[in-house]
């Protein structure tokens, strides 16, 4: 049998070892806990609805499509091919987004619709318009193919938004409209700016309103629209 006092060095030497062990274990523990907390915070923050898209964001589209040239009613910064200054075409929003007044989505025009004008309009060496002509099967030999536009205004999956009643109400109550689409005062185009900002002045479309639920509910309250959850969430 070995007495405890027979080898005192061993004991004194084991103390810092123990300390190191305890500290290491404790340190690892703290790191693990803080790691978990950090993961929680990060995923919590990122896990919010619409983590990627949202306020003040914009995207490069397959075609560098300028809303200004098509929708603006004003003098443009844009310069035409022949060096002349350009004025916006002043198309109504509904000219392309045809279903906005009657249906859920505003509607993206089919490529063929764009091609009805752009078959002739726009010079033959305009690269952007040529992408369109290629997709519509007018030039190139790979036939027709759809264009994948990037969605800029996107609501989370658990919200159903229908354009039709909103456009209908706002066109009848123009005083509720916020912002302006290049000063248009009549028709559906006059009300789009409430949620989309002045798209007619955007070279590249950007989401200028946060489009959070608070904004929806405020407006619904002010206008006596339903605030039942199941009005939009189902």
């Amino acid at each position: 049998m070995v007495s405890e006092n027979e080898n005192p060095e061993t004991k004194s030497a084991s103390l810092p070892m123990m300390l190191i062990l305890v500290l290491t274990a404790g340190g690892l523990g703290v790191m693990a806990v803080s790691g978990v907390i950090a993961a929680f915070v990060i995923t919590g923050w990122l896990g919010q609805p619409v983590p990627v898209l949202g306020f003040q964001q914009t995207f490069d589209q397959p075609i560098d499509f300028p809303h200004t040239i098509h929708a603006s009613t004003k003098q443009l910064k844009h310069v035409a091919a022949d060096g002349q200054t350009m004025e916006g075409l002043g198309l109504d929003c509904t000219f392309c987004h045809r279903t906005v007044t009657t249906q859920a989505n505003a509607g993206i025009p089919p490529v063929g619709f764009c091609a009805t004008c752009h078959e002739v309009i726009g010079s033959a060496d305009n690269n952007e318009i040529n992408i369109l002509r290629d997709a519509a099967g007018i030039i190139g030999d790979d036939g027709k193919e759809p264009i994948d536009w990037r969605r800029v205004h996107r609501l989370p999956d658990h919200v159903r938004f229908v354009h039709e009643p909103h456009i209908r109400y706002l066109t009848q109550n123009l005083s509720e409209v916020k912002g302006t689409t290049d000063g248009v005062t009549t028709g559906p185009s006059a009300v789009c700016s409430t949620c989309h900002g002045n798209v007619a002045a955007m070279e590249q479309v950007e989401q200028v309103e946060a489009l959070k639920m608070g904004q929806c509910v405020d407006c619904h309250r002010d206008n006596g629209a339903p605030t039942d959850c199941a009005a939009c969430h189902h």
Binding site: I42, T99, G107, I108, P110, V111, K144, V162
Partner: protein, 770 residues
């Protein structure tokens, strides 16, 4: 430091870990795409749905449906309210077709096998067409086109194609109804099946046919059943079937005859009606003229002895049937699937004479011939006898090319006929299909086929509503979605279009053209539901409504005879099958999979069976008392053995089966058929023995006797029952039942009274009264 979310994102984005988390939390790229298709105007991306009317021939006996389509994708299939057959209503099968359309294992490219034992390799349509043509080149007089029973233009094209090469067009239906068609023809003198005016009948007497579940035209009959129950004089339903089907469960009086004695039961009922003078003299003498040899064998005692049903139940059924008219009698399904099947069904249909139910309100309504002359208005599987002869030809190497579409013959035929080796002796086996099935294991060329939602066609519903109907089928979605992210591509081709292409357009350039020509002929006839100034307007009208019909047309009947003389049913032998107990095997169509056509769809797999609530498996229904005496418990794996083979099934004892009978659903047991169906459950069709109806040569699929043995394992039956706790209205009263003219309130009080007596006990009750 004030940190907003964007800056936070930017910070975390700089670290590798942050990048990983960022990617994991991001939205899938495809959700950020709005695709703008090329052509106008229906392609417009508008977030709103379009509903297209079409027909679903292969799955629903020609019911008209509306398909909800958004942005080129089919979303939902519902009944078409305009369509006269199913009148806007549905079955537990429509929507599963969506999952066949978008099945992840759908065949994308043609596939080719260079030698019989080689592997399948993907190929192009050009090469596939060459292979197809070379298979046709030497095949004159030695070609067989095999399809499911199809009507309308597709059936017509298949027949013409076979004729062009002096070959045969054979139809295959594993649960064949040829006996029914034969019986209808011999008693009522009609080629096409009649319908039944259940809506206005006061008594319905049906045998063997599960017409509320899977037999005939269930959606049509379901609508009529709703009306039958809501008449001022609530209809009374009597159903005879050895196991409890949906129809038996809905019946007011369920008779469970020994399998194969349905004809005896029918004539027993007839003899009671005649002896008790419940029918008019005129009807009795007509009945006697079509009966070859009298009713001597059919006293109540004799019939009760042979059918195993107590005499008073038979008498009750007979008296109700004769006294509460209009009444109608019909049968099919397992009643006709016996060696004496023709006799059974002919006797059943003859009962209508006694109650004057032929071609009257509340009786049998004959259907007219097809409105487009050349189109077949009736179809049924070729009798088993012919199939045996045909397979012998294949085995002998006398058939050069076999083209198979819409039916899985390797899954559907009994083991005993040796369909696999027969197929191996055919030099060119060409199979059309959407998901790899068991027959494709023997194919030399597999061609991806369009589903009913993508192809053109017409459909003559059978049984129709009592007048001429031509249902239209049109592509409701664009080309099928490919499985990569790139978008929409398709390589599938319609069966009809492929045949037309191979025949170099000698009887039409495309199915679309044939359908439009057919509609133009209808327009020229100038009658029916659509009147239009031009044939193209007429075509549009028909496509919008899902078809054309003329309520003014009627079918005719021509009273025939009960021809069949073979009255006794013979069953397969079990003498040499080893240990176990003998049972009579009654296979039945699965409510959601049918004969296995829909097995690839996970919705069809997961929809609970109505009676057992089981899903995803093959179970065997046996009588609960009998199970108890044999020591069989729910979930016991049973070995079910016939002279043709052995399968396994999970025991499910319940009180709704005749003792001595074992009911097994058809539809599972595919070796292939996509990720959800492959090697799942057992195929009861494989152990059927080759008994045939003595008159038509059709397979007597309900004439197999089996020996059943426990395998010694027990597993949990995948069933919905028990997933939620059952909460009765009152203890012991799960569903409130009232008598006719009783109020629910009265019934509830009475139940409560019974409950107090039974459960609280008399003493307790007396105390309460004090």
């Amino acid at each position: 430091m004030k940190l907003n979310r964007r800056e936070f994102l930017a910070l975390t984005g700089k670290t590798a870990a942050g990048a990983v988390i960022f990617a994991a939390c991001g939205l899938p790229e495809r959700e950020l795409i709005v695709q703008s298709p090329v052509d106008m105007p229906e392609d417009l991306v508008r977030g709103e749905d379009a509903w297209y009317a079409t027909s679903m021939g292969d799955f629903t006996n020609g019911d008209g449906v509306l398909v909800r389509v958004m942005e080129g994708r089919a979303k939902k299939i519902e009944g078409n309210p305009d369509h006269p057959v199913n009148r806007g209503k549905s079955t537990a099968r429509y929507d599963s077709v969506l999952q066949l359309l978008y099945h992840p294992d759908r065949i994308q490219e043609p596939m080719l096998r260079y030698s019989k034992n080689g592997n399948l390799v993907n190929t192009t349509w050009d090469e596939a067409d060459n292979r197809f043509r070379s298979a046709l080149a030497n095949a004159d007089g030695a070609i067989t086109v095999v399809t499911n029973p199809i009507r309308g233009h597709l059936g017509n094209v298949a027949t013409k194609f076979a004729d062009q090469y002096n070959g045969k067009h054979l139809t295959f239906d594993p649960m064949e109804q040829g006996v029914l068609h034969g019986a209808v023809k011999s008693v009522l003198g009609q080629e096409q099946l009649p319908t039944f005016d259940i809506s206005h009948a006061h008594t319905v007497l049906s045998f063997g046919a599960d017409w509320l579940g899977t037999w005939g035209s269930p959606a049509q009959f379901g609508v009529k059943y709703g009306e039958f129950r809501s008449q001022s004089h609530r209809g009374y339903l009597i159903h005879a079937e050895p196991r409890m089907s949906l129809t038996a469960a809905a019946a007011d009086l369920w008779l469970a005859p020994k399998p194969g004695t349905e004809g005896d039961l029918a004539l027993g009922i007839a003899s009671i009606i005649i002896n008790e003078g419940l029918a008019t003299q005129e009807n009795i003498s007509t009945f006697n003229t079509i009966l070859p040899d009298g009713l001597d064998r059919y006293s109540v005692a004799q019939v009760s002895d042979r059918t195993g049903i107590s005499g008073d139940r038979i008498e009750k059924a007979a008296r109700h049937f004769a006294n509460h008219t209009p009444a109608v009698a019909f049968g099919g399904g397992s009643a006709g699937a016996h060696t004496n099947g023709s006799f059974n069904l002919e006797a059943i249909y003859a009962l209508n004479i006694l109650v004057d139910a032929i071609d009257t309100s509340g009786g049998v309504t004959p259907n007219p011939k097809s409105a487009i002359e050349e189109l077949p208005s009736s179809s049924t599987g070729e009798p088993f006898e012919s199939w045996e002869a045909e397979l012998a030809q294949w085995r002998a190497g006398n058939v050069e090319t076999v083209i198979i579409r819409g039916t899985d013959i390797v899954h559907g035929m009994p083991n005993s006929v040796g369909v696999r080796e027969a197929l191996q002796n055919v030099p060119n086996v060409i199979v059309f299909g959407t998901v790899h099935d068991d027959t494709m294991d023997f194919a030399d060329l597999i061609l991806p086929e369009k589903t009913v939602l993508e192809a053109w066609g017409t459909e003559i519903p059978e049984p129709g509503p009592g007048y001429q109907v031509v249902g239209t089928q049109q592509p409701v979605v664009g080309p099928t979605v490919s499985h990569d992210e790139s978008g929409l591509t398709s390589n599938a081709r319609g069966f009809g279009d492929s045949l037309l292409q191979m025949s170099d357009g000698s009887y039409g350039s495309s199915m679309e053209q044939l359908v439009k020509n057919g509609l133009a002929d209808l327009h020229a006839a100038g009658r029916g539901s659509i009147s239009a100034s031009s044939s193209s307007l007429f075509t549009n009208g028909a496509l919008q409504r899902g078809g054309w019909w003329d309520t003014g047309t009627r079918g005719t009947t021509d009273l025939g005879k009960i021809r069949s003389t073979e009255r006794n049913a013979y069953y397969s032998d079990t003498g040499t099958l080893g240990t176990g107990n003998d049972f009579h095997l009654v296979p039945f169509h699965s409510n959601s999979l049918l004969d296995g056509r829909l097995a690839a769809a996970p919705w069809a797999q997961s929809t609970p069976d109505p009676i057992t609530s089981a899903s995803w498996s093959t179970w065997a229904e046996i009588n609960s008392q009998e199970a108890q005496s044999l020591g069989i418990k729910e979930g016991d794996v049973l070995l079910i053995r016939s002279t043709s083979g052995e399968i396994e099934a999970l025991a499910y004892p319940h009180p709704g089966v005749r003792p001595g009978v074992i009911g097994v659903p058809v539809g599972q047991g595919h070796h292939r058929n996509g990720r959800w169906a492959e090697d799942r459950g057992s195929n009861v069709l494989s152990i059927l023995t080759g008994q045939k109806d003595s008159h038509t040569g059709a397979l007597a699929w309900a004439a197999t006797q089996v020996r059943v043995q426990r395998a010694g394992r027990r597993v949990k039956v995948p069933k919905f029952e028990g997933n939620v706790e059952a909460r009765p209205v009152e203890p012991g009263v799960p569903v409130l039942v009232v008598a006719i003219n009783e109020t629910a309130e009265h019934a509830q009080k009475e139940n409560h009274h019974i409950y107090q007596k039974q459960f609280i006990g008399k003493d307790e009750q007396d105390k309460q009264h004090e």
